[in-house]
């Protein structure tokens, strides 16, 4: 019997073979199979093919690939900051972002009360526009911002040295101002204001210098951690060039997420 609804109809045949579709359709096709030798033979032979396919198994292999965004490097990178007051941790974090983004001047903010640590210098350390140093560039061992950081540290040291005499003279001046009555109240206040400002400028510079050092240390630690992670993957899987490229991509990804 040749029923055009069923004979040479892959859709119906395959659905039946894989037990797909509504039950009444299957029953109807089964009724057809009882009457159509050709369709019955087709079903039987394709069933047999399916049975044969079960004999094909992939060879055993070792699969030990894992994603390693190891929490340990994060801890070691930030572990020391737990000894710092919260505001300093926040300031350090802001500084990391600032430096990594290629911002040449420093303005470290913390908290919602608007307390700001400024470096106070006027000349930008870097001459390159900020947008020329995307975060991604910070991934390279010779990232340009690292030179900026070194220059910044040097500038800060210089400024601190220059401010030392003024700061050193401060107690004497204060004593003079407090001891001698020749100075007017207005003069005294102006002098105190000046001294406080000098003191603040020095403190700010020292803090900025410490921050820059902290950034440098953190960066070194971060790169060491990531190199260790990279080496770990290399031992596990490093074989072909393609794999190496993948690992590099993965490292780049890890570095980006670790900077978030």
């Amino acid at each position: 019997m040749n029923d055009s609804r069923y004979c040479d109809n892959p859709d119906v045949l395959i659905s039946y073979l894989y037990e797909d579709g509504p039950g009444e359709e299957r029953l109807a096709f089964e009724a057809h199979l009882r009457q159509c030798a050709r369709c019955a033979a087709e079903v039987a032979s394709l069933r047999a093919v399916r049975e044969d396919l079960a004999a094909w198994a992939p060879p055993e292999t070792v699969l030990d690939f894992r994603i390693v965004r190891d929490p340990a490097p994060v801890k070691s990178r930030w572990g020391w900051t737990s000894a710092m007051p919260a505001w300093a941790q926040l300031a350090a974090a802001s500084l990391v972002i600032g430096v990594a983004a290629g911002i040449s001047g420093l303005e470290v903010r913390y908290g919602n009360d608007g307390l700001i640590v400024r470096t106070g210098w006027n000349q930008p350390v870097a001459t390159r526009p900020a947008d020329a140093t995307p975060v991604a560039q910070a991934e390279g061992a010779d990232a340009p911002w690292r030179a900026d950081l070194a220059a910044l540290q040097e500038q800060l040291r210089g400024e601190i040295r220059q401010s030392v005499p003024a700061a050193g003279a401060m107690p004497v001046s204060m004593a003079a101002a407090g001891g001698g009555r020749a100075m007017s109240d207005a003069e005294f206040l102006a002098r105190v204001k000046q001294l406080v400002e000098a003191s603040e400028a020095r403190t700010e510079r020292e803090m900025a210098l410490r921050m820059a050092e902290v950034v440098r240390d953190m960066d070194a630690q971060r790169r060491a951690d990531l190199r260790r992670v990279a080496d770990g993957i290399g031992v596990l899987e490093g074989r072909t060039g393609a794999v190496t490229v993948q690992q590099r991509e993965m490292m780049n990804y890890l570095m980006r997420v670790s900077q978030k």
Binding site: P10, D11, L13, I14, S15, Y18, D20, A37, A40, A41, E42, A44, S45, L46, R47, A48, V49, R50, E51, D52, L53, A55, W56, A57, P58, P59, E60, T61, L63, F65, R66, I67, V68, R69, E237, R239, T240, A242, V243, Q246, E249, M250, Y253
Partner: protein, 198 residues
């Protein structure tokens, strides 16, 4: 209760990388099997497994869950297999050389009920299946692999392959027909019912 793939995906997006490693543990064998059967080479298949999970990990934040995680992973895997085939500019399937040790091609695992003879027969058949599969066009082979070895629904395969449901069924039908012809020609197949059925 077992954590679902989707829950693990959500945890990973929230920053828990270890959840993704659980997904790897759960899916690396099926992904390897798919890649191996599509490519026919163990080393290539292993590379694809790694690459597939790396890509999935990176793309995870953009995974909206419109498909099952596994289907999404299968699609990534098949795309990578296609890349491998194109890069190598070689036949889409590396064929087993004649006289190859069957142990190289098929798993050495045996079930308790199997005799040594059975194992040899099964391995021999497995080798012939592998060779027959190599005759199939890529899309047909992928459809058969996803259905036979991974149990995807026709609808899932259609979404994964980006084609209508009827095309999936046609691919399966044509693929099985070619396999039947190849296995019969080879003489090892049990698929000889055309001659034995009334």
């Amino acid at each position: 209760m077992t954590v679902t793939d989707e829950e693990l995906v959500a945890r990973c997006i929230a920053g828990d990388t270890e959840s993704f490693n659980q997904l790897i543990l759960r899916w690396e064998r099926p992904i390897y099997a798919l890649a191996y059967r599509q490519l026919g080479r163990e080393e290539d298949a292993r590379d694809v497994v790694q690459d597939a999970f790396l890509r999935a990990f990176r793309a995870l934040p953009g995974f909206k869950g419109e498909a099952k995680f596994s289907s999404w992973l299968y699609r990534i895997t098949l795309n990578l297999c296609r890349d491998v085939m194109r890069r190598a500019k070689r036949a889409p399937f590396v064929q087993a050389p004649e006289g190859v040790d069957v142990g190289d091609l098929v798993s050495t695992e045996t079930t308790a009920a199997e005799s040594i003879e059975d194992v040899v027969t099964r391995k021999d058949l497995g080798r012939h299946v592998a060779r027959a599969m190599s005759r199939l066009p890529e899309e047909q082979r992928a459809a058969i692999l996803l259905k036979e070895y991974h149990g995807l629904t026709f609808q899932e395969i259609a979404e994964l392959q980006g084609c209508p449901l009827s095309t999936v069924k046609t691919r399966l039908y044509q693929g099985l027909t070619v396999l039947r012809r190849e296995l019969q020609r080879n003489g090892t197949s049990t698929a000889r019912s055309e001659s034995r059925t009334p």
